[in-house]
């Protein structure tokens, strides 16, 4: 039961933040991916960096349970799937999480995105055996690995570098990139804030 309460609280907080940073707004997504307004990209980079520093810092201080980490496997299909997701993300202006939140905030097109998504997920469920047989779901480079070796995580490291320390360094790197990234790369003038 307590896990359901946590799901409600963290889920609602996540949905509310996605709404407030503009991630559920296809105008912000379109401008970010067209490189005409990178405000949302800066938000995302800062978030990854902040999350990383807090998590690995907490682990080093013994305040965060290392066992809560969940690392996904690396395989060729991750890259192909990423290519597909990127194309659809640009086309629709939504990814799975922001799509459901946008639909909840009243955007009609997001409901069509969800309907298409349910069909796409079903199509994968049906074609999964073919992907499995193709070998493209087989682990590469060690499968479930982190870039460094995180003490006590149970996951192998791609390198022997101390994983939690590397996590803090990379996290700091994401934060620095968030600060130095220009607001606009393509086009001219002040980056314009998209309509609400």
């Amino acid at each position: 039961m307590s896990s359901i309460i946590l799901a409600l609280v963290i889920g609602a907080a996540f949905g509310a933040v996605l709404d407030r940073i503009g991630a559920t707004n296809p105008n912000w997504i379109g401008r970010m991916l067209s490189l005409t307004n990178l405000h949302l990209m800066k938000t995302i980079l800062l978030a990854i960096g902040t999350g990383s520093v807090l998590m690995f810092g907490g682990q080093m201080l013994g305040l965060v349970e290392v066992g809560h980490m969940s690392v996904k496997a690396a395989y060729v299909g991750v890259f192909i799937g990423g290519l597909l997701l990127g194309a659809g993300w640009a086309l629709a202006g939504y990814c799975p999480g922001t799509g459901v939140c946008a639909a909840a905030s009243g955007r009609k097109d997001a409901w069509f995105f969800i309907a298409g998504g349910l069909l796409g997920a079903a199509a994968y469920m049906v074609t999964y055996p073919a992907w499995l047989a193709s070998g493209m779901l087989d682990d590469i480079l060690g499968g479930k690995v982190t870039l460094g070796t995180v003490p006590g995580s149970g996951f192998d490291g791609l390198s022997a570098i101390q994983g939690d320390l590397l996590g803090i360094v990379l996290g700091a790197g994401f934060i620095v990139i968030a600060f130095v990234l220009p607001e606009r790369i393509v086009g001219q003038g002040e980056a314009v804030a998209p309509a609400e």
Partner: protein, 183 residues
Amino acid sequence: MTLNWKTGGLLLGVVFFLAVLLVKPIGVSTQFVILDGIIGNAANSELVTQTEEGWTSSNAYLAKSGGKYANSVANPLNYSFVFVIAMMIGAFLSALARGGVSRDERKLPAIWYANYGDTPWKRYAVAFVGGFIVLYGARLAGGCTSGHMMSGMMQTSLSGYIFALGAFATAIPVSMMLYRKEG
């Protein structure tokens, strides 16, 4: 009304951190499969079945990893599924509290209007096709923007970096081709 990136990024990062601290990293796209399973099982109760060891399915994907997904389909009141429902509630309340999304925007995003005019049905068709490709790709990759890119890169997982590389390699050129006008 949109938060400054410094405030927004900090808040988003804290949410991702709290999820790992208290439960596990955030992920969303699996729940599309779970909802498909729930719908499929309602139409055909043979889809997900109970065995002595737990739940399994006639669909190989739902049955994989010891019937992990089949179990979630049979028991939808689980953390990950409720999490996505809660995301919708949170986004709904947040949008309401800031006065709601304007009527024009709800019908058609400004960036679409700027590039393709008042063509809502064309937009809905594109959103539908986009949704199909996004979820097919996310399931092939084993995660989406939340699970792979955000949670993955935050944990320095190699797969997160591979995924992000693939996603931006297509997202940027496709977006630059389709949405030339900024809206």
